[in-house]
Amino acid sequence: VNDRSRNVSIIDIVYRSQKPCLRWLLGWLSMSQIHTIAGPTVLKSLCLSLPLPISLSLSALGLCGCRSLSSLAELPEMHQMMRQTCRDYADRELAPIAGKLDKEHLFPAQQVRELGAMGVMAVEVPEALGGAGMDYLAYSLAVEEISRGCGSTGCVVSVNNSLYIGPILKFGTPGQKDQWITPFTTGEKVGCFALSEPGNGSDAGAASTLARQEGEEWVLNGTKAWISNCWDASATVVFATTDKSLKHKGISAFLVPMPHPGLSLGKKEDKLGIRANSTANLILEDCRIPLGNMLGPRGSGFKIAMQTLDGGRIGIASQALGIAQAALDCAVDYAHKRTAFGAPIGKLQAVQFKLADMAVAVESARLLTWKAAMLKDAKKPFTKEAAMAKLSASEAATFCGHQSIQVLGGMGYVTDMPAERHYRDARITEIYEGTSEIQRLVIASQLLKEYVP
């Protein structure tokens, strides 16, 4: 009891202290006090919560913590406003037409333009280039809310932001940014990302699309597969091998406008889900582009692709969260309304357990996604967290889609209710931008690096 009261008074001093360094110092002291009452195991588990042990323990004590973790309890006001705006838009403009877009495979051009006017198509782009100038957490929230309305539209937003604008923002010259980013912030034009090929998906280092220099031009030859948005895109980032002998260090990134002589599109794939979004092959036959269209230094294509996909993972995790949340909302709503055995089915434990499991899956994936986004904003390493976010969110989405149909029973199987669309839309999130298997490899390799014997 004595130890406990000593602890409380130290917490009091720390809480009232204005100087951050003093707080941290006293935080460590109070942690060591906790050691005497809580025992070594609690302290050890607190410490093992790398990479931010101090702030984690401080926020666990209800003290200041660094902004990143205390924000997980409640988002900053601006992010809340932004989230609410996107949610209103999704509820009023996207959810009513999502079924139609899916059935008729229609690209939501009007909605993409409206989202562009709101700044959602270029969330991270600085205002000087025409974007919204917000951080990655804001982008993650925007994609989640948009995907909650319509999964395909969420995919369009995510591909444009993370996969197309992302690499140009990070590796482009000022001239390239003006030419290739600014027109793509308004929603009038969208971009796409061409990395996968018929011969290699997960094996990105084995790109067989070739680029050779001929005078003042690059000539590209090859085929890219599974390119999202391509039928509606006005430009693409293409990865091609410039030096085959250097293996994956010989891949470079190029910016190609669409349409362009030498670039043609294959037939639109007939997909299981996200059908409002076009997916097709990109065929390059002696496609000539100026030398200035190379993105980043020669041979850095693989690095650009990997870094872009790291950020893109958070975008896809957010899309998966939106779809999972929509499936959960649909199931909970139905559980209130549908009666069986004399009461709403929400009273039955079998249904309650399903809903609880779905909610836990969504919320834990959401926290992982927010953490990854905050780490990226703080310019800290976020590869492991992004992979964990994408893995858990996509598995949560398929789980929630599946269970949502189960809760709805027969109604879940027909197109009158959106549950079946969520089930189909969710499936792709486990595959594109890095399959769940690749995510596990990424997480494992990061973990093994942390524990050097």
């Binding site: 006001e77 601006m78 406003m81 932004m82 705006t85 209103d88 838009y89 509820d91 409206e114 006017a117 709101m118 700044g119 959602v120 969330v123 205002e127 919204a132 100038g133 917000m134 804001a138 925007a142």
Partner: protein, 242 residues
């Protein structure tokens, strides 16, 4: 032709299912989603449109209520208003407050801010009073263009197309004036992300009704039930109402 005052009210969101409190004293408001009154959104949109067409220089968003109404003012700022005024009224006073007190506050503010136009929503979706706009105009002795479905500024006058029972009525009123927005006046915009960021930096001034010379709302007296119409007339004559 410089400044427009726009009133925004924080109400329970239109999509929420309203539930009555167990003690029947009112409606459940705790933890329920609130948002800006839809007619107030239309009013804000009209004011911002007028500013974009350069008819007016500044749009000021005003709301009366407890601290939570600052969220509504921030939404108005994110839609394009330049600054906000929060008239703080809380607790019992807020529950007792009605259109008369609000219009007194707006009248006082319109004079203080030297506004050329006061644009309000035609009614709030929680009480459906449809009184604040009209009362404000009467207190200020300004012309009013209510149920506006089209507003055009023509020099020193405002042409208002009003939706009335018989159809549409076009009137021309001189400024300063009070307008109330009806459903078909415009389609409110979604706040853009850059504007939401800018809204953070815009100022919201805080004041109390007393600062504007408006008295506390009177406590509501209980009603009296009578048996016949004759009794009703007698009672009304007795307390001097007729």
């Amino acid at each position: 032709m410089s400044r427009v005052l726009v009133g925004v009210k924080r109400v329970i969101d239109y999509a929420v299912k309203i539930r009555v409190k167990p003690d029947h004293s009112g409606v459940v408001t705790d933890g329920v989603k609130h948002s800006m009154n839809p007619f107030c959104e239309i009013a804000v949109e009209e004011a911002v449109k007028l500013k974009e067409k350069k008819f007016i220089k500044e749009v000021v968003a005003v709301s009366c209520g407890p601290t939570q109404v600052t969220e509504t003012i921030r939404t108005a700022l994110a839609m394009g208003c330049d600054r906000g005024i929060h008239v703080e009224v809380s607790g019992k006073d807020y529950e007792a407050m009605g259109p008369l007190q609000i219009s007194k506050i707006f009248a006082a503010l319109a004079k203080k801010e030297e506004a050329s136009l006061v644009i309000l929503g035609k009614q709030a979706i929680d009480d459906d009073c449809n009184q604040t706009g009209q009362m404000t105009a009467a207190l200020l002795d300004w012309p009013q263009g209510t149920f506006a479905s089209e507003v055009t500024i023509d020099g020193e006058k405002v042409k208002v197309v009003r939706e009335i029972d018989g159809g549409l009525e076009t009137i021309k009123i001189s400024m300063p004036a009070v307008l109330t927005a009806d459903l078909r006046l415009n389609t409110p915009r979604y706040a853009t992300l850059p504007n939401i960021m800018k809204a953070k930096k815009k100022k919201i001034a805080n004041m109390k009704p007393a600062d504007l010379g408006v008295d506390e709302p009177p406590t509501r007296l209980a009603g009296v039930k009578v048996e016949t119409v004759d009794d009703l007339v007698a009672k009304l004559k007795a307390n001097g109402t007729i």
